[in-house]
Symmetry: C2
Subunit: 354 residues, 2 copies
């Protein structure tokens, strides 16, 4: 069966409608839809509409607060603290991003910590928004337990991502969005399904031994990039997003999928820089273009057609999928279709072919 | 031959005197001495007094400017730009750090970019200073070419380090100081000397193939941590330290050892956060203590005696070496001894045993 193809803009309308039917205000629903479809457009399926069903289930379970608004409850100088009030993560994230951008316009830089948030989608969504405003963004988030500290054998840290967006001119913007683990848990789960083995540097088993058996890996712990370096990065992100903001840290960040009693209490950190404080934006963008061209012209390994800037493959894919549609595998299409039906929304309306 | 043992404080006086004799002002000389010996105390020999001879050689070659002072030449809101005026890196680094700390006291956060700097020693020196002031520090620096972008086969990026310092209470502070490469070039050079092979994930040869032969690795390129992730981090650091500040970027950062015509024009970025904007410092430190104890109590792999917090091993070593002396290998002792003699300074004065 061929994957169904969807029109990104019509899909946004459909998903917005589902979220509205589930109780979200229109402007919130539309943000969440945009952030999820942003990921699908870029080919990051793990953070796309595959997450919509669990978002809706948590709303239905009363674990997400849709009637409140995230608030800036402490702001002084160039820093602020946002209380997400347990709203949908993307709603909280955008509120924090907008506060950070406002601060950076005033002070050259804005640092906004966030508590009481939820899974906020792909970090690159915020980076892309900041780039559109001509700002540099660094965004961090903690996440539910998945990685042990070096020497440990039980998950403690999340795959805590770090992302950065930096505008360029004609060349693709710099858009790095990376987990601090070597691989995502989802990839290991996929290997179990397919009956495949995994590379030895992805995970350890429950005894702390490196394993190529994905089933054992799921009972163990993911490995961080660069050994103790990735452990240090994940801990650093956890401290800034969780401890500094008053959100949960380490294993106290609740699972999106496995905890049906508590809000997640995820923490984030948004840092924006106003380039104009350092040089005129057009000069910076021109310098970025020259710099990116220099990186891309480094001699290549045999068989390598191109050196890609972080985010370049994804932004090419985005253009392609905006043009030709987003393919969803039959299982996801079926799941989304049922979900839409429950809320009286027609997923077919976003489909290219019946 | 046993390694000679040195008294850290007397060693600081000796090295300060050498730098003064070489033309540095006393307060500058003393800073550089302190920053180098900080690294030796922590067991990071690659960034300790092993660098003194090359610093002095560059001073003698007229490639370092000792008669000027780093200046804050652009400051507005919470950001500043420091022109290092090609002074010794640690002098420039401390000037930038102090400006960042001042800004974070006023604005909650301070972001200071630096151009026209030199090798500034170990990042952990600045992180430790910021911790002493109760601030969170993130410090980045670019560095001479050593790593290719993913898919490339010629060095372009430096091993661009990222470091972070976060204060704690009774537990050891969090002090992460990491290169974005898997291994340092110095380790590969050491393997050549010892006739040993190197792990396959350290470097590629000149054709872009992974190699365990250190001689081929030195003709090739270091590998970043986590593949494309580390490449992204190194590029991000290069853009913030070099492009945003107006310092050199990529292969235009001049080698400390191989270029005898130009200033290095290294760029750095210092970001400090005033914890008090988020919560009272004593509360934060108490929370850090509880958090660190939780991390350290994660069940351990068989044979692992302790889970260490980033920087903990080094701060233990520091205490031990402050008590018992810093050991230098005979080659370094000899080299330092000759250097001291040239400037009429007696290295023996800092030695525990004749």
């Amino acid at each position: 069966m061929h994957p169904a193809l969807f029109h990104w803009k019509r899909l946004e309308q459909v998903v917005t409608e589902v979220l509205v039917q589930a109780g979200a205000r229109h402007e919130h629903a539309s943000l969440v839809a945009e952030s999820l479809i942003h990921a699908d457009l870029r080919g990051i399926e793990s953070h796309g509409l595959a997450r919509l069903p669990i978002y809706i289930q948590r709303i239905e379970a009363g674990l997400i607060e849709l009637n409140d608004e995230p608030v800036v409850w402490k702001q002084e100088g160039a820093t602020a603290l946002v209380d997400g009030k347990n709203h949908l993560g993307a709603v909280v994230g955008v509120a924090a991003l907008e506060e950070a951008i406002k601060l950076s316009r005033q002070m050259g830089i804005g640092l906004v910590g966030v508590r009481h948030s939820n899974h906020f989608g792909s970090c690159s969504y915020y980076a892309e928004r900041a780039i559109t405003e001509g700002k540099i963004l660094i965004v961090l988030s903690n996440a539910p337990e998945a990685m042990a500290p070096t020497g440990g054998i039980r998950p403690f840290f999340g795959t805590n991502p770090i992302a950065a967006g930096i505008p360029a001119g004609e060349e693709p913007s710099f858009l790095l969005d990376m987990a601090t683990s070597v691989a995502a848990r989802g990839k290991i789960a996929l290997a179990v399904k397919k009956g495949e083995s995994i590379p030895a540097d992805w995970a350890i088993d429950a005894n702390g031994k490196e394993t190529t058996d994905p089933t054992k890996a799921l009972l163990g712990s993911l490995l961080p990039i660069g050994g103790a370096k990735g452990y240090g990065l994940a801990m650093f992100i956890d401290i800034l997003c969780g401890l500094l903001t008053g959100a949960a840290t380490g294993p106290h960040v609740k699972s999106l999928y496995d905890n049906w009693h508590d809000p997640q209490n995820v923490g984030h950190l948004f840092l924006t820089v106003d380039i104009e404080r350092f040089m005129p934006l057009p000069d910076f963008c021109a310098n970025m273009d020259a710099y990116i061209r220099e990186v891309k012209s480094v001699p290549r390994k045999e068989g390598v057609s191109d050196i890609f800037i972080p985010g370049e493959i994804e932004s090419r894919k985005k253009l392609e999928r905006m043009e030709n549609g987003i393919p969803f595998d039959p299982n996801l299409t079926k799941e989304l279709s049922q979900l839409c039906r429950t809320y009286g929304v027609d997923l077919q309306a976003a489909c290219y072919l019946p």
